[in-house]
C-alpha cells in the first residue's frame, strides 16, 4: 500500500507537469493577449505592461520561469485583476463553489443511489419507467435550460426563491438543483444497470434462502457489490462539481471559481488560466487516487500493487 501510494504520487506529479506544459503551450498558441481588450493603450504602455509581467521574454524562458515559480507555490499575479495573486483568487473563490458543489454532490448521491436501487428492484414496473424518463431528462436537458426554467418559474413567476447571490439557505436550492440534475440522473442509471446485474447473481439467491428481508438483501448484499461503477464516476464528478460550473454561477450570480475559469480564458489572463488548470488537475488526480483507495475498501478482491 505504501509503495503503491509513493508510485501514485510520483505519477501524479508527472501528470500535473504534463497538464501545466500542455496548457502553457496551447495558451501561447491562442491569438490575442491580456491587454488587447483595453481601450487605447499606447504601444509604449503595452510594452511596459508586457515587460512588467515578463511577457516580452522568449517562450522558453517564460515557461521555465513559470515552472520554477510554480514549484515554489507562486502562481504569479493575475494579469486582469490588478494587484491580486492567482492563489489569492483561488483561495477566495474556491470555497464558494465547493460549498454549492459539495451540497450538489451529496444530493446526487443521496437521491441517485436509492432511486437507482429501487428502479432495479422494481424493474419493468411503472415506477421504473417513470424514474427512467426522469433520469433521461436529467441527462439530456442542459443545465442552462434547467437554470433558466427554474429561475423563471420559482424565482420570477412565483417569487418564492431568491435568484441571485448566496445570502440564505434558500439561495442554494436552485443552483444545487441545477448542478445535481445531471449527476443524480447519471448515478441513478449507473446504479440501476449495475444493480440489475448483481440481483441476478447466485449470492443474492443465497441471501434470500437465508431468510433475509428484501431491505437487508438489497442494501447490504447487493449495494456494496453494485456500487463500484458509481464510485468510479464519483472521482471526476466530485472534482468538476466542486470546481463550480460557469453556467450555474453566471446565471445565479454566484461568486465562484467556475466563473473565474472562463473569465480568465476570455481575457487571456495567462497566469489565472495556468493557476486554475493546475488546481483542477491536481484536484482531479487526488480524487482518482481516493477512488482507488475506496475501491479496496468496498471490494476486498481489489488489491493495490
Amino acid at each position: 500500500m505504501g509503495k503503491y501510494l509513493l508510485k501514485r504520487v510520483i505519477l501524479a506529479a508527472v501528470t500535473i507537469w504534463a497538464v501545466a506544459t500542455i496548457t502553457f503551450v496551447l495558451m501561447n498558441m491562442v491569438p490575442g493577449g491580456p491587454f488587447l481588450s483595453e481601450k487605447a493603450i499606447s504601444p509604449a504602455a503595452t510594452a511596459a505592461l508586457e515587460a512588467k509581467y515578463g511577457l516580452d521574454k522568449p517562450f522558453g524562458e517564460r515557461y521555465l520561469t513559470y515552472l520554477k515559480d510554480a514549484l515554489h507555490g507562486d502562481f504569479g499575479l493575475s494579469l486582469k485583476q490588478r494587484g491580486r495573486t492567482v492563489s489569492g483568487i483561488i483561495a477566495a473563490k474556491f470555497p464558494v463553489s465547493a460549498k454549492v458543489g459539495g451540497i450538489a454532490v451529496l444530493v446526487s448521491l443521496l437521491l441517485g443511489i436509492p432511486l437507482g436501487v429501487i428502479a432495479a428492484y422494481k424493474r419493468g414496473t411503472t415506477i421504473d419507467s417513470v424514474f427512467s424518463v426522469v433520469a433521461t431528462l436529467g441527462i439530456a436537458v442542459p443545465s442552462f435550460v434547467v437554470c433558466t426554467v427554474l429561475m423563471y418559474f420559482l424565482g420570477v413567476k412565483l417569487g418564492i426563491l431568491p435568484t441571485l447571490g448566496l445570502t440564505s439557505w434558500k439561495n442554494y436550492i436552485m443552483p444545487v438543483f441545477a448542478l445535481s440534475a445531471y449527476p443524480t440522473s447519471y448515478i441513478m442509471r449507473l446504479m440501476r444497470s449495475s444493480m440489475l446485474d448483481v440481483l441476478g447473481q447466485d449470492y443474492m439467491r443465497t441471501a434470500k434462502a437465508k431468510g433475509l428481508s428484501q431491505k437487508v438483501s438489497l442494501f447490504k448484499h447487493a449495494l456494496r457489490n453494485a456500487i463500484l461503477p458509481v464510485i468510479t464516476y464519483l472521482g471526476p464528478m466530485v472534482a468538476y462539481t466542486l470546481m463550480g460550473s460557469f453556467i450555474v454561477e453566471k446565471i445565479f450570480t454566484i461568486p465562484g471559481l467556475g466563473g473565474e475559469f472562463i473569465k480568465a480564458i476570455n481575457g487571456r489572463d495567462y497566469t489565472m488560466i495556468m493557476g486554475t488548470t493546475i488546481f483542477l488537475g491536481t484536484f482531479m488526480v487526488f480524487m482518482l487516487l481516493i477512488v482507488d483507495i475506496v475501491y479496496t475498501i468496498v471490494d476486498p478482491r481489489i488489491k493495490l500493487k
Binding site: 449470492y203 439467491r205 443465497t206 441471501a207 434462502a209 437465508k210 431468510g211 433475509l212 456494496r224 471490494d299
Partner: protein, 346 residues
C-alpha cells in the same frame, strides 16, 4: 396424524407465465418425506427437480407460480404463506446449498460475517455467541483453523472449502430439511466425494432430512433412501433406492441406468444414451412426455397420459407398459417401427 410427514406434497402444479406462454414446469407432483429421510430427485435439466425443491421454501423464481395442489412442510401450509412467514423458515427450518460455491457466497463480506448473519437472524444469540457458533460450525464442516477462516473472504478459499462454508451456513440453525441442489456438480471429483461424505456424516450427527437434487445416479445410489425420477415436470417413477436400481419400471429410468458407466463392462461395450431431446415444455405432448424418445412406445402412449401403477407400498411409476393387462387385446403388439411411422406422420 397431520404432521406425520416432514414434507407432504400433493398434486403440485407450478407454471412459469412467460411472454411466450405458460410453461407447465410441474404437473401433479406428489411425494412425502419423513423426518431424517434422504430423498434423491434425479432427472435431466429442465425436468423440474430444482423447481420442486425450491417451491418448498418459497423460492420459486418470477414469473413462476403455484397453480394447484398443496405443499406442507413441518406443519406449515406453504400455499398460504406470506413472504414474511417464508423468511422465518428459510435458513432456519429449511435451508439450501447451491450448485456453484464459487458464486453463491457474497464476495465482499467475510465468511464469518455471512455465517453469523444467518445465526443472528434466526436466533437471539449476541454478536459474540454468534461468532463462537460460526467457529464451531466451520470446525463441524471440516474446515481447519476456523478462527482464521472467519476473517477471510470467499475468494481466498478453494471451491471445496467454499461449499463447506455454504453447508455451514445452511446448517447454522439446525434445519429439519436440507435441500442440496447439485452440491457437487461444480467441484472436482475428489472434492465431490469429500463433500458427499461430509453431508452424510452431518446427517448422522444432526438428523436432518435431505433432498438431494442431482443428475448423477451414482450419488443417489450411495446416499439416498428414496429416489424420485423426474421427467418433464412429472415424477415418472418413485421408489426406494433398491426399487429404482434393481427393479426399474419406467423406460426412462431404465435408460438412465443403462447410461451409467459400469466397472464390469465388457471391452468394446458402449454406453447406451437416451436418444432424442427433452420435450418442449411450452407445448407438452398430450400423452406420456417421454413417448417420443421411448423405445417401447405404443400408440396409446402418444394419446394419453398413463395412470399411476403401484408396486407395493412405495414404488410407483407412470407408464402404460405397466398397465398392459388393462388394454391387452385392445392394442395388439405395437412395435417401435409403428411408432416411428406415427411420429413421421405428425
Amino acid at each position: 396424524m397431520e404432521n406425520k410427514y416432514l414434507v407432504n406434497i400433493e398434486n403440485e402444479r407450478l407454471s412459469f407465465f412467460t411472454p411466450a406462454g405458460e410453461v407447465k414446469a410441474l404437473n401433479d407432483v406428489s411425494f412425502k418425506m419423513k423426518e431424517g429421510e434422504v430423498l434423491g430427485i434425479v432427472g435431466e435439466s429442465g425436468s423440474g427437480k430444482s423447481v420442486t425443491a425450491y417451491s418448498i421454501m418459497g423460492l420459486t423464481a418470477y414469473p413462476g407460480r403455484l397453480v394447484g395442489g398443496t405443499i406442507e412442510f413441518n406443519g406449515h401450509h406453504i400455499n398460504d404463506m406470506s413472504e414474511k412467514e417464508f423468511r422465518e423458515i428459510r435458513g432456519n427450518e429449511v435451508s439450501i446449498i447451491f450448485q456453484d460455491p464459487m458464486t453463491s457466497l457474497n464476495p465482499v463480506y467475510t465468511v464469518g460475517n455471512q455465517i453469523e448473519e444467518v445465526i443472528r437472524l434466526h436466533t437471539n444469540k449476541n454478536k459474540h455467541e454468534a461468532k463462537e457458533r460460526a467457529k464451531d460450525l466451520l470446525a463441524l464442516v471440516g474446515i481447519n483453523e476456523p478462527e482464521k477462516r472467519l476473517k477471510q473472504y470467499p475468494h481466498e478459499l478453494s471451491g471445496g472449502m467454499r461449499q463447506r462454508v455454504m453447508i455451514a451456513i445452511a446448517l447454522a440453525c439446525e434445519p429439519k430439511l436440507l435441500i442440496a441442489d447439485e452440491p457437487t456438480t461444480a467441484l472436482d471429483v475428489t472434492i465431490q466425494a469429500q463433500i458427499l461424505e461430509l453431508m452424510m456424516d452431518l446427517r448422522e450427527k444432526l438428523g436432518m432430512a435431505i433432498i438431494m437434487i442431482t443428475h448423477d445416479l451414482g450419488i443417489v445410489a450411495s446416499m439416498c433412501e428414496k429416489i424420485a425420477v423426474m421427467y418433464a415436470g412429472k415424477i415418472v417413477e418413485y421408489g426406494t433406492t433398491d426399487d429404482i436400481f434393481y427393479n426399474p419400471k419406467h423406460e426412462y429410468t431404465k435408460g438412465l441406468i443403462k447410461s451409467i458407466p459400469r466397472l464390469d463392462a465388457k471391452e468394446h461395450e458402449r454406453l447406451v444414451p437416451i436418444e432424442g431431446t427433452p420435450v418442449d415444455m411450452l407445448n407438452p405432448p398430450a400423452g406420456c412426455p417421454f413417448a417420443p424418445r421411448c423405445d417401447s412406445c405404443m400408440k396409446i402412449c402418444l394419446r394419453e397420459m398413463p395412470p399411476v401403477t403401484f408396486f407395493g407400498d412405495v414404488h410407483y411409476t407412470q407408464c402404460w407398459l405397466n398397465q398392459k393387462e388393462e388394454f391387452e387385446g385392445k392394442a395388439p403388439e405395437e412395435s417401435a417401427v409403428e411408432k416411428g411411422k406415427e411420429a413421421s406422420n405428425e
